[in-house]
Amino acid sequence: MMRLIKLLGLLLTIYAGLTAAWDDAVEAAIFNPDTFTLRNGMQVVVISNHRAPIVTHMVWYKVGSADEPPGKTGVAHFLEHLMFKATKTLQSGEFSKIVARNGGQDNAFTSLDYTGYHQTVAASRLEAVMRIEADRMRNLIIDAKEVEPERQVVREERRSRTDNSPAAKLREQLNATIFLNYPYRNPVIGWDHEIVDLTVDDLRRFYDTYYWPNNAILVVAGDITADVLKPLAEKYYGAIPAGKIPPRIRPQEPPHNAARTVTLSDSRVRQPSWQRAFFAPSRIYGDKQHSYPLEVLSQVFGGGATSRLYRSLVIEQRIALSAGSFYDADKLGPSNFSIFASPRPGVGMDQIERVVAAEIKKLRENGVSQEELTRAKTGLQAEAVYVRDSMGAGARVLGAALSSGQTIADVEAWPDRIGRVTADQIKAAANAVLRQKRAVTGYLLPGQPTPNQPQTNRPQTNKGG
């Protein structure tokens, strides 16, 4: 999910004296959504934005790849593909045909914590898509005739996204290494050997377990109000009975006690890269008080051309072509804080590591300056203004938050909570998270794919670079 966002009129008032003004700003909001819950337990969220006569209609299921049964990786995503096939009332393919004939666009996505289906249409066409989206919540027909060709499509998707790309293959292996027990270790699309073996029954069981209104959230953004939406939501989604949803219990992480490395060498690699991912808390998982400080920290440490890592590695030491960091707090399970760099030709990975280690040490000992803190917060809070400009962004941000354990209040309070982060909290978060024994280092190197090559140090010079 893109970084959560925030408010506008507020920012006008706080700009002059950023830190002082925050105390008055507590009630500010980003999207100002309306919300209500249907009798069957389905939550409804409405974000009004009347700039164009269109609406984005989304249904989010609180189930993602991390909820799959052991040995059945890929079932959440495979099912998402099948949701466009036949139902008891629609023929296969008819769903998107109806959307297109209403001048609309539709798609779907699967993530670690949620699965979402969405259409964007003229506001006058909303009811037509609500009818068919509600229909496929319980009426999908899953049979072998549809499953087999679609299995090939899913495997081609896997080849395109992952198997054809050395960098993506490394990312997949790194993910499988940083999480020792939590199901985020499995790729969202699934492992190919398990995709091959998924059965019609596996897919049906997953659908019948999780696709119920009380496990779903309806989010509608655009040229609409709650008053107009409510009777439609009751008519189409309110008519579906609630199901019995299993509690969302996932295997938890044991302590991380050893630094790990993963190396991928491939003759196709022309530009080596280095990354280090530190196991980290999220908004919901682990030492979650660190999540807001880590967002600010990532901005100071690796958030652009004036960040510490970029300045140090790219501008001053001139050993990297690019460098930065990344942290995503909006997950139900654990997250990671990642640092990445592309070494200049001829520069060894060990040189990158020495400079990064020195920067981490400085950070852990001295924290960040007041100036850095202010600049980072200003930048993050501005995003909360910009995000309001896009009609669909609010639906995506709120849907993702609500289906991965956060509340509307959490989203709306984001700029406020970012504003309250202190330098001491950042230092504490850095000391808790940026520790070698919690980290996996990934090396993408040119060369032959020899599995046991020592992960070092001397990326070959770039042939033909």
Binding site: R101, G103, R159, V269, R270
Partner: protein, 451 residues
């Protein structure tokens, strides 16, 4: 992970089509939503403005005609290097000071080189407006091009090129354009190459800035929290000191080369990446909309196209298959792509060519035409859902000289196309034997031919 859902087109829906067809006219509400004013500044500069005061944000999109296709021989990549370096220090601000100023004002400022234009976009909070526009003016009129910043950007671009050279889609696309446009700069990548970038000197960047940024080749589009009067003054302050005219240029028209060609580039990967193209149509061609509708049905229409149905839905050969019109100022091509397991590449190519031929020979059905029009007109307002989209679209309309009424007229251009128009264009344009295909991978049973 976004996945494109699956789709299948069925015959049984004629009745549904009839229900929705006639009712779907979006022109009235759209015209209300998008009220474009043409602004003329005190100094005579023009811009298109959509005022919107609902958020304290101003979005600017602008372009200078003339792009990477004008890069001097041996210095390909010049326009792109300017785009990368122009925000790396200007006036008294060195690279770090300039970047820090951008961050302090929470502004996003981007420059981009295309083959036919050099464009920029800026987004700022209203409260920082005047200082941010001053930064834009500095970048356009007093860029520093300091040696260390230029060297840094060159090395980043070269790294980007190395990364692209690992990507089968990029490899195929580059080879395809080189083959279609031999000896013409449209065959050269905008980014340049490892052979040309080292030869670009600071003086070349300065010359580019002096010769290409002028008033007579500039178009500006603005959306957001600014009035016409205020914008007039801002235009003068940012662009008012540019030279009156850009240095003249001449670029010849070119027709994409034709021939029943298949180029195979061997790479040890499990999936063959296929890209293909043939001569197409320019944006100002009177047949453009007929071709646009034809392509929607052939391979442009997401889950609804014939290529999607035949290659993905019926046979599970690929996750992604598509085609699109790619118009340039001096040529036009129709281009597409797919990716399939090596063992199935030959079958995929065969079906692609069959569909190409079938469209040329038989054209569209009446239902396909009606469905296409319904979708294309009905979905037009979906392109107006953010300031950035609207500003970029206005710049595109200005560059193509389609006129300030274009947004209101566009759906009627679609609706007046007849079945005969589309089928004539299909016959004239499409030629399965003129396709050039590039296949990257280890495709079984695909022979290189026609080279």
């Amino acid at each position: 992970m976004i996945k494109m859902p699956a789709f299948r087109l069925l015959l049984a829906s004629a009745a549904i089509a009839a229900t929705f067809l006639t009712t779907f006219l979006m022109r009235a509400p759209l015209a209300q939503a998008i009220d474009i004013q043409k602004i003329v500044s005190p100094k005579g500069l023009t811009a298109w403005l959509v005022e919107d005061h609902s958020n304290p944000i101003i979005t600017v999109n602008f372009a200078f005609r003339g792009g990477a296709a004008l890069d001097p021989a041996g210095k390909e990549g010049l326009a792109n290097l300017v785009a990368s370096t122009i925000d790396e220090g200007a006036g008294d601000l060195d690279s770090q000071a300039f970047q820090r100023a951008l961050e302090d004002f929470s502004v996003s400022l981007n420059f981009r080189a295309g083959q036919d234009s050099f464009s920029g976009s800026l987004r700022t909070l209203t409260r920082n407006r005047d200082r941010v526009f001053e930064l834009l003016k500095l970048a356009l009129t007093r860029p520093r091009f300091d040696a260390d910043a230029v060297a840094r950007m060159k090395s980043q671009i070269l790294a980007g090129l190395r990364r692209r050279s690992e990507n089968p889609r990029q490899i195929a696309g580059r080879m395809l354009l080189k083959t279609l446009f031999p000896g013409h700069s449209y065959g050269n990548p905008v980014m340049g190459s490892a052979e040309t970038i080292p030869f670009i000197k600071i003086v070349d960047l300065k010359l580019f800035q002096a010769q290409r940024f002028a008033k007579d080749n500039l178009v500006v589009s603005v959306v957001g929290d600014v009035t016409a009067v205020a914008l007039g003054k801002l235009l003068d302050s940012v662009f008012g000191s540019l030279p009156e005219t850009a240095s003249p240029w001449k670029l010849p028209d070119i027709m994409a080369t034709a021939g029943n060609r298949t180029i195979v580039i061997d790479k040890p990967i499990p999936q063959s990446v296929i890209r293909f193209a043939q001569a197409g149509i320019k944006r100002n061609d009177p047949d453009f909309f007929a071709a646009y509708i034809m392509n929607y049905v052939l391979g442009g229409g997401g889950f609804e196209s014939r290529l999607y149905r035949e290659i993905r839905e019926k046979r599970g050969l690929a996750y992604s298959v598509y085609s699109y019109l790619s118009p340039y100022n001096h040529t036009g091509i129709i281009m597409g792509g797919s990716a399939t397991a090596n063992a199935r590449a030959a079958e995929t190519i065969k079906i692609l060519k069959n569909e190409w031929r079938r469209m040329a020979d038989q054209g569209l059905t009446r239902t396909e035409l009606d469905d296409a029009k319904t979708y294309l007109t009905g979905s037009y307002p979906l392109r107006f859902s953010s300031s950035r989209q609207i500003a970029a679209m206005m710049t595109g309309i200005q560059l193509e000289r389609l006129g300030i009424k274009y947004i209101d007229q566009r759906n009627s251009f679609i609706n007046t196309v007849t079945l005969d128009d589309v089928n004539q264009v299909a016959k004239k344009l499409l030629d399965a034997d003129a396709l050039t295909l590039v296949v990257v991978g280890r495709p079984d049973g695909v022979q290189a031919e026609g080279q």
